[in-house]
Structures are given as structure tokens and as C-alpha cells.
């Protein structure tokens, strides 16, 4: 039983990271109907940015207080990753708006290849070990048979995710920016006629998605303690699976999907085999798309002639 609860905790931690990435996919898909293939690599890039900023602050500026360093790294990493995402949208996607349907997807695949190889060329193909941070753990039920370990990292990940999701939900539901986004999602042309700056709204969507991916990147770096230039693809596809499972276009769906995928992965690894955990996730993707294409919380897509 404690083993099961332990795996649940691991799953929720992992799922929080997937959920944060999945929001970027689901928002972009909702607003321009495109699978932003490069989003997984933006996440990978952000984990590198976070790692290097942490090194810059600890080694060059000699910032000893870790909590402050991590907080500054988080803010800066969100800013820099957003800048990348903005530039990518501006350069690779915006000129293709209104072009034929496959063009943005191909462009996004090209961008994804470019990003992972740029990081490889700039930083080398080897695993990059991150400095160890937050090693503490909390044990529940010490001295009894029922011991559950909760590490500080896991608490941080779940807490940061929860706070950010609340802030994000507030922005989307209660602010003019969020209203413009929801308007563009429903009908882009009508929103433009009513004075919404569609291009700006789309840019903001990319920036918000990237900022959340940057948080996921920092948390990923802290949790696993290692980053690699090829880390974008598999987490990217898993996060996309999460977005699809939750119902693409739906924000709560993305978080729910992320948590479910995290749980499935943790439980599968624990009770079946680690080797096939990615196969399990990809099978969920296939099964969801084939039998339930609108996901758990999505709207059904009606075919029009």
C-alpha cells in the first residue's frame, strides 16, 4: 500500500511537469489550430537556460543563498524562453498564417530540429549534470510500517505548479488579455472585426505557453538533476498526449491529462516494466485519438462539408 501511495506521489510530480508543458500545446492548438511541434524543444531549451543561469549565478556572481538564486533563475528563464518562443512564432509561423494547412506543421518540425541541434552544437552532445539542489525529504509515519517519503523537490514542483496554474487561470478568465485569447479561439475573424489585435494575441499565447514550459524546464532540471539536448522530443510527445487526452483546446483538460499521463507512467514503471513505459504512453495517445478524439473535457469536432 505504501508503495502504491509512493508511486502516486511520483506520478503527480511527473504529471505536474507534463501538465505545464501540455498547456502550451493546447492553447496554441486552440487558437490557431496547429500542433506546435517545436514546443517540446522549447521546453528542452528552457531546461538548459535554467541550468546555465543557475551556474552563472552560483559560479560567477557567487550567489550563495539557493532559494533566492532559484527564484531569480525562474523569472529570468521564463523571460528568456518567452523571447525564444516569440521569435520562433514571428519567424517561422506568422509568415505562414493563411498558407496551406501543412505548411506551419512542416515549419514547426524544422524549428524543432533546429532547436535541438542548436543546443547540441552550442553545448555539446553529452548529458549535463545539474548542481544538486534541495536534497531534503520528509518522512511520514516514521517508526511505523507505513513510511511514505516526500522529497522537498516534489513538494516544490507540485506547489509551484498549483500556484502558477491558479495565476494562469486568473489571467485567462479574468483579464482583457485572456478575454482576447478566448475570443480568438472561438472565431478569429470575428474577433479581428471587433478590434482584437489577433497577431498580438497569438504572440501572447506563445509567450504564455513558453513561460509555463520554462517553469517545467526548471522543475525538470531540479527533479532529474541532468539535462540533455534530446530531452525535448519524448516529454514533448507525452505532454501532447496529455493535451489530447484531456481534450485539446481545454485548459483544465491539459492539466488533468498531464496528471493522468504522469500517474500512468509512474504506475506502469512500478508494476509492469520501465522498458515499455513510453510505449504505454504512446498507446494511450493512439487509443484516445482513435476512440475519443475530443478527449475527456474537449468539445466534439463536427465535420462540415
Amino acid at each position: 500500500m505504501e508503495y502504491f501511495i509512493q508511486q502516486l506521489i511520483n506520478g503527480v510530480t511527473l504529471g505536474s511537469i507534463y501538465g505545464l508543458i501540455a498547456i502550451g500545446y493546447t492553447m496554441v492548438f486552440g487558437i490557431i489550430g496547429m500542433v506546435n511541434f517545436a514546443h517540446g524543444d522549447v521546453f528542452m531549451l528552457s531546461s538548459f537556460i535554467a541550468l546555465m543561469l543557475l551556474l552563472v549565478f552560483t559560479q560567477i556572481f557567487g550567489l550563495g543563498f539557493l532559494a533566492v538564486a532559484l527564484f531569480i533563475v525562474l523569472i529570468l528563464s521564463m523571460l528568456l524562453t518567452s523571447l525564444w518562443s516569440w521569435a520562433i512564432e514571428r519567424l517561422a509561423y506568422r509568415p505562414l498564417r493563411g498558407s496551406f494547412r501543412l505548411a506551419p506543421l512542416i515549419s514547426a518540425i524544422g524549428m524543432s530540429i533546429f532547436l535541438s541541434n542548436m543546443v547540441q552544437v552550442a553545448q555539446g552532445p553529452r548529458n549535463k549534470p545539474a548542481p544538486t539542489t534541495l536534497t531534503g525529504v520528509i518522512n511520514f509515519g516514521d517508526g511505523t510500517d507505513f513510511v511514505i517519503t516526500l522529497s522537498h523537490k516534489q513538494i516544490l514542483i507540485v506547489a509551484v505548479t498549483a500556484v502558477l496554474l491558479l495565476a494562469f487561470w486568473y489571467v485567462v478568465q479574468k483579464t482583457p488579455i485572456g478575454r482576447a485569447q478566448r475570443a480568438c479561439e472561438q472565431d478569429r475573424r470575428m474577433a479581428a472585426l471587433l478590434g482584437v489585435d489577433v497577431n498580438r494575441t497569438i504572440s501572447i499565447t506563445f509567450i504564455m505557453g513558453a513561460a509555463l514550459a520554462a517553469v517545467a524546464g526548471l522543475l525538470f532540471m531540479i527533479y532529474y538533476g541532468v539535462v540533455h539536448f534530446n530531452d525535448g522530443f519524448i516529454p514533448g510527445v507525452k505532454a501532447f498526449t496529455a493535451a489530447v487526452l484531456g481534450g485539446i483546446g481545454s485548459l483544465p483538460g491539459a492539466v488533468l491529462g498531464g496528471l493522468l499521463i504522469g500517474l500512468v507512467e509512474a504506475l506502469w514503471s512500478a508494476y509492469f516494466s520501465t522498458d515499455y513505459k513510453d510505449v504505454a504512453t504512446f498507446s494511450i495517445l493512439v487509443i484516445t485519438l482513435v476512440f475519443m478524439p475530443s478527449g475527456l473535457l474537449g468539445r466534439p469536432d463536427v465535420e462540415k462539408v
Binding site: 489550430g33 496547429m34 500542433v35 538548459f48 537556460i49 541550468l51 546555465m52 543561469l53 551556474l55 552563472v56 559560479q59 560567477i60 528568456l80 523571447l83 525564444w84 521569435a87 517561422a92 509568415p95 505562414l96 498558407s99 496551406f100 501543412l102 505548411a103 506543421l105 512542416i106 515549419s107 518540425i109 524544422g110 524549428m111 524543432s112 530540429i113 533546429f114 532547436l115 541541434n117 542548436m118 543546443v119 547540441q120 552544437v121 552550442a122 555539446g124 553529452r126 549535463k128 549534470p129 545539474a130 548542481p131 510527445v237 501532447f240 489530447v244 522498458d275 515499455y276 513510453d278 510505449v279 504512446f282 498507446s283 495517445l285 493512439v286 485519438l289 482513435v290 478524439p293 465535420e303
Partner: protein
Amino acid sequence: MAAEAGARHGIGAAVKDAAGTGLLALGLSIPIIAYRTDQTMSNQLVLSERWGLVAVLVLMAFAARLIYLLAPSIKFQRKPVAAITAEEGASPLRRAVALVGLALLFAYPFLTIALVGRAGAIKWVDNFAIQILIYVMLGWGLNIVVGLAGLLDLGYVAFYAIGAYAFALLSTHYDLGFWVCLPIAGILAAFWGVLLGFPVLRLRGDYLAIVTLAFGEIIRLVAINWVDLTRGYAGISGVPRVSFFGLPFEESEDGFAAFFGLEYSSIHRTVFQFYVILAMVAVTYFVTVRLRRLPIGRAWEALREDEVACRALGINTTNTKLTAFSLGAMFGGFAGAFYVASRGQGFVTPESFTFSESALILAIVVLGGMGSQFGVAIAAVVLIGGTELLRELDWLKRVFGPDFEPTQYRLLLFGLAMVLVMIWKPRGLISTRMPTVFLRRRRAIRGDLVGEGHG
């Protein structure tokens, strides 16, 4: 809009705009370019600064933007093109050019031997010609699925892998040769094409793309993890190479060279492989061209144009999609078996079948112009040959220092090229299509007017 500002307000505004681009490049370079991480012996990372490189990149971005703004002639302008361009004339000139091209292709191995000698020719035939031809074949196979039937497949490499593994397993377990396994590999891949095609028939557009991507990854992950069968990452080695219809290319009594009374040379095998893949490519070409004129080929293209109308006209869309899937898969399977027996050196690992391989094949099809056989071939030559040429740029080491390795920029440039070609020519390099059914005269149609399929 910024471009117009540059033209209107002259150099000042353009410089300002370019300075903004430079600033953006500076922002993007922090910290990923500005610092380099190196591992110490105790597995810790240390930083070293590279601000010189950042300055170079910023200046390059500034200069590129400035040139773009001040030189209007190189801008990506779309000229208005007539919807229906010139009639395809079987003019004697075109025919002559085509014939000369074919003759050169046939003579290619002997021309290279004559020009650079036997030792040098192996590289030019094997690395360039054979590799390009494998990708032409894969491109044409995928072209049936994506270009003709309009089904976006991001997991095509799965069938390439199935062909390769089918050949490797059959030959190592049952001691079968290349020529026996080649058709079996194709049939098995086609079978898997039907199997994977069935569940995805209901899907359309991006969803179909993602599901095929997932299938491609599942096949690769199974190949990695089913160690008993595939030996995982270690791969299967000792697979027989291409033989001259049973005569191996060996320096022995019953080898090819001895049988024909020639002096043994490793170039024999390479040249023979070139003609094998050339023949396979020719078969792919003719099958596709003929199929396009048959009812099934017309059904594919009709499906691409409008699926709902197809169903209304009584076309069985299930069978139509499945045939496209399985035929495309079959050619992928052939190419996979050939790859193991030739360039794979009788060795196959899951590493050869990653997603980037699928993306590469898809890029060849899309950049060449979906549905255009000639365009796909050109794109394969440019992309594969071009990235292969980077290996030849050793002189750059003299400019940038001995640490400079041009080949590591291969995929970087390739990704960038995909983005730029999409912006410049979203319909691919060859953007006209030849219809197979026409009223009175046969005329090329602009790519924009061709449907792209819903699934």
C-alpha cells in the same frame, strides 16, 4: 510592414530595425550561446565565456536584416502566376534533356571511376548516389500516401524499419539471401501498413499525423526493448550483403570477381548496388505513374481533393486509404531491406529509425512539392547531397580553426532550410501538377489549386 518602412524612410529606419534584430539575437544568445559548460573530472560543470561568438552572431543578424531591408529584389515576393500554366508539350528539347539526364545517371558509376579513380569513386557512388537513391525511393513511397492520397504520415520510418528488420531476422534465422528476402520484406511492410492503417482511418489532419508518429515511435521502442528478438541497441549484425544473384562479392573462388575472371575490387559491389537501387527506384516510379492513371490512383487523388464528395460518389474510402497506406509501406519495406544489405553494411540497429528520419523523408516530399515525382527527386538530391557535401568542407577548418566540424551543422542547417523553404515556397520546389484526366489538352495546374487532403 517593416520592409516598407525601410523603403520609405530610407537607411535610417532600416538601420534602426536591423539594430532591433541584433538586440533580439543578443537576447536569444543569453545564456545558451554566451557560456559554454564543460565537465570537470568530478562531473561538475564549469562555465567559460564566449562573448566573442555572441558578438559575431549579433553582427550577422544585424547585417542579414539590413541587407534584407535595403535590397528589395531578394524579398520573398509571390509573383501572380496564371492558374493554368503552359501546356505540357512533349517538345523535342525536353525529351532530349531527359534522355541525356537518364544516360548520365546510368553511366554515373563509370564516369566517377573514370574521373576520380576506383578508390575515390566508392565514396561518390556509395555516400552520394546510393544514399540519395534510397531517399528518392522512400520519398516516392511516402509521396503515394502524402502527395497522392493526402494522408499525412509522420511515422513512415516504421515501415522502413520493418523492412530492414524483416530482412535481418529472416536472413540470420533462416539463412535466406537478399533476393529471397527483398519481396518478403516488402510484403511484410505492406501487411503492417494495412494493420496500422485500419485504426487510423477515422482520423484526419494533424491527428492522423500524430497517431502515425506514435506508431513510428512504438515500433522503434519495441525494436529497442524486445531484446530477445532484436538484440536491442546492440542491433543485428552479420546480415548478408547484396549478392550478384547468388554470387557474393568476395575475394574467393566462388565470388563474383573469380566467376567472371575479373580482378577482385570492392568497387564491384558498390557499382552493382547502385544499379540494384536504380532499378528499384525505376520500379517505384513506373508503378506510381501507372497507378495514378488507374481507377485506384484517381480515387486517391479524388480523396485528397474532397473526401465527402468521394463518399457521395460511391468510392470506398476505406479501401482507397488502405491501399495507399500499404503500397507506400511496401516501398518503404523494400528500401529498408536494401539499406541493411548495402549502406548498413549488414548491420541494423534501432538508431537508424528515429523520428528525425521520418521528418527527413517527409521534408523531401513536402519541399519537393507533394505529388510531384520530379520535385521529390530534386529535393532528395538537394537535401541529402547538400548535407553530405558538408563533409567535404574541410577547408573551412583553415578559416575557423581545427575545432570546427562542419558536419555537426548538418541537421541545424537542415531544420533551418525546412523553415525557410516553407516561407519562401510553401507548395514546394515544383509547384505545378500534371493532371491525369483532362479535357482535350493536358495542362499543368498550379499547386495552390490542388487539394491537400483532410487526413
